[in-house]
């Protein structure tokens, strides 16, 4: 069963076609990678899914429900959560408050008790190693922790689909290793969740993703398992160029 289905999606910025006739199918419960060079249209794709931009053409279906034309908050309430490439935390609020904002709508939706919500925040803090900084302002956290907090905040909305926009940006190789095991742990604890992540670093994609799509200039140039994609001649051409440098 496809959780996310994108059909023939296009988006124009003036005369520039940022995303063009894109087709992607993401099966439920998998970790899916979207790979591509800068400017390939990956973040635009996320902005289209989450309703920050409205597509010029095409269809986005979540569990069969169309997301096109819906506003960001409505899409979030349908079960899509995301992080941002350039962090967008509530800097002047504490770590706990940041996570709690993610829960506000969720509580109304399912009538969860306050006690359970607090327990939920506690388990998120523990999972992401933020418990010692719980009452600190988000803006005062070190960069790596801010990245983790953004993922924790997104998870607080109990999403079906989690979109991670370059979660490893600005991290050193050791931190990337930590992130890989963290995302695996998230997947283990939230077994029903589907994760789509945008990434440059092959190491992370290799370690995590079941399946990947490679984008270049707004178009899909390859689909398949990570191994298949890595050995696809078109991908190699797009990444490394075709003529030999003498």
């Amino acid at each position: 069963m496809d959780l996310l289905e994108i059909k023939n999606l296009s988006h124009m910025f003036g005369g520039l076609k940022a995303v063009s006739s894109l087709n992607i199918k993401v099966k439920a419960k998998m970790i899916y990678g979207v790979i591509g060079a800068n400017g390939a249209g990956k973040t635009t794709l996320f902005n289209l899914i989450t309703g920050i931009y409205h597509p010029t053409e095409g269809q986005i279906l979540l569990d069969g429900t169309s997301l096109v034309g819906k506003q960001s908050f409505e899409i979030s309430r349908l079960g899509v959560a995301r992080t941002f490439q350039n962090l967008r935390l509530f800097n002047d609020l504490t770590v706990v408050e940041n996570i709690h904002v993610g829960q506000i709508y969720h509580r109304k939706l399912r009538k969860v008790k306050t006690k359970d919500l607090k327990a939920k925040i506690g388990s998120l803090l523990e999972l992401f190693g933020l418990d010692s900084r719980a009452e600190d302002k988000a803006g005062n956290l070190p960069y790596g922790m801010q990245r983790k907090l953004e993922i924790a905040r997104a998870l607080a909305t109990e999403p079906k689909l989690l979109l991670l926009d370059e979660p490893a940006a600005g991290m050193n190789p050791k931190e990337v290793q930590g992130l890989v095991s963290l995302i695996k742990e998230v997947k283990r604890q939230y077994c029903d969740i589907t994760i789509v992540l945008i990434e440059h670093q092959m190491k992370l994609v290799e370690g995590l993703c079941d399946y990947a799509t490679v984008m270049n200039f707004g178009q899909v140039i390859a689909n398949g398992t990570v191994k298949e994609v890595q050995h696809n001649p078109i991908v190699i051409k797009a990444y490394l160029g075709e003529t030999e440098v003498g």
Binding site: T50, I52, L89, F90, N91, D92, E97, V101, I104, T157
Partner: protein
């Protein structure tokens, strides 16, 4: 997460004493002082209402004076032309200002930052010109309300209004999920939307609620002063003073606007008494706001904290020197 603040015995005693002083004040002081106290209460209410929008939500409005003036004119017209009793006129003024603000907020809240400030300021100026040319409002002649010469009455009205605004700020903006949503809009609107918050609705609510309080206070002011004129209730200085009071005391805090309102209003009245109607007030006002923004960006409320930090810093240096000796 709403942080439950525990009430220590000291806090309760301070609160009780403040209440006792506030409620017995008319029987303790002269009518001159009482009129100043009434003015302080009015400005506390206004500064707190502006702080809901500018402080908690981060939308700096220079048009909040328009809500004050619109409320004053609606209450005034209801009392003079329909001969409604004061409290009913006040309630209707509040409801109509709320609706008025919701309509104004719809286009202006799409702007942000300085564009929002300019947009609201332009709207307020438009209202002043409109009231100046309409005949139902009395135009440039102003509007004369039935006089009611009871200082105690107005003191208690303004006190009650200030307390209500304070309670709303405390309950809904400081300690609730609603307040957290509002602060999330201030910190990162896009992120708030992707977490399921309908930011358009939240922004419009905050704008309308804060304007409603300004409108109700405006209505009470009209009856207190008995004569209103476009320049006296719709002039730019009304909104400017609210902004400056909040900045002076501490923006986005609960007690900052109160402190700012007291300091600025008392200073203003003092100058009025000493020098008469003088534009020196405006010069000092401008100069003091420059100083506050440069040296105390978090307002007077942060002063004790800064002094304490400086103190501990110099102590630290002393200790270090002793160790190195």
């Amino acid at each position: 997460m709403p942080i439950s603040k525990s009430f220590s015995p000291v806090k309760v005693i301070v609160l009780l004493l403040t209440m006792i002083v506030l409620f017995t004040l008319p029987f303790l002081v002269s009518s001159f002082i009482l009129r100043i106290a009434t003015g302080i209460m009015m400005w506390i209410g206004l500064a707190l209402s502006w702080n809901m929008l500018g402080g908690y939500m981060g939308y700096i409005s220079f048009g909040h004076g328009a809500s004050f003036g619109v409320g004053a004119y609606i209450a005034g017209m209801l009392m003079t032309q329909l001969h409604l009793p004061f409290f009913i006129a006040l309630i209707i003024a509040g409801i109509l200002t709320y609706i008025f603000a919701a309509l104004v907020g719809y286009p202006t809240l799409r702007l942000s930052g300085s564009y929002f400030a300019i947009g609201t300021w332009a709207f307020a100026e438009m209202m002043r010109q409109l009231v100046l040319v309409l005949s139902v409002t009395g135009g440039a002649e102003g509007l004369r309300l039935p006089p009611m010469l009871n200082d105690n009455f107005f003191y208690f009205v303004m006190l009650a209004l200030a307390l209500i605004v304070f309670l709303v700020a405390y309950l809904f903006f400081e300690n609730s999920d609603f307040g957290l949503k509002v602060k999330a809009v201030r910190e990162e609107e896009t992120a708030a939307r992707t977490l399921g918050l309908n930011t358009t609705w939240i922004k419009n609510q905050v704008f309308s609620i804060s304007s409603m309080f300004a409108g109700i206070i405006g209505g009470a002011f009209a009856y207190w002063i008995t004569f209103i004129h476009p320049d006296s209730v719709l002039g730019p200085l009304i909104a400017d003073q609210m902004v400056i009071m909040v900045l002076l005391g501490g923006i986005g805090t609960l007690f900052g606007p109160i402190l700012g309102a007291i300091v600025l209003y008392v200073g203003n009245q003092y100058m009025l008494v000493m020098w008469g109607q003088s534009s020196a007030y405006l010069i000092i006002l401008g100069f003091s706001i420059c100083l506050v923004i440069l040296f105390l960006p978090e307002g007077l409320l942060s002063l004790p904290r800064i002094i304490k930090r400086k103190g501990s810093f110099s102590r630290l240096i002393q200790q270090k020197n002793q160790v190195s000796k």
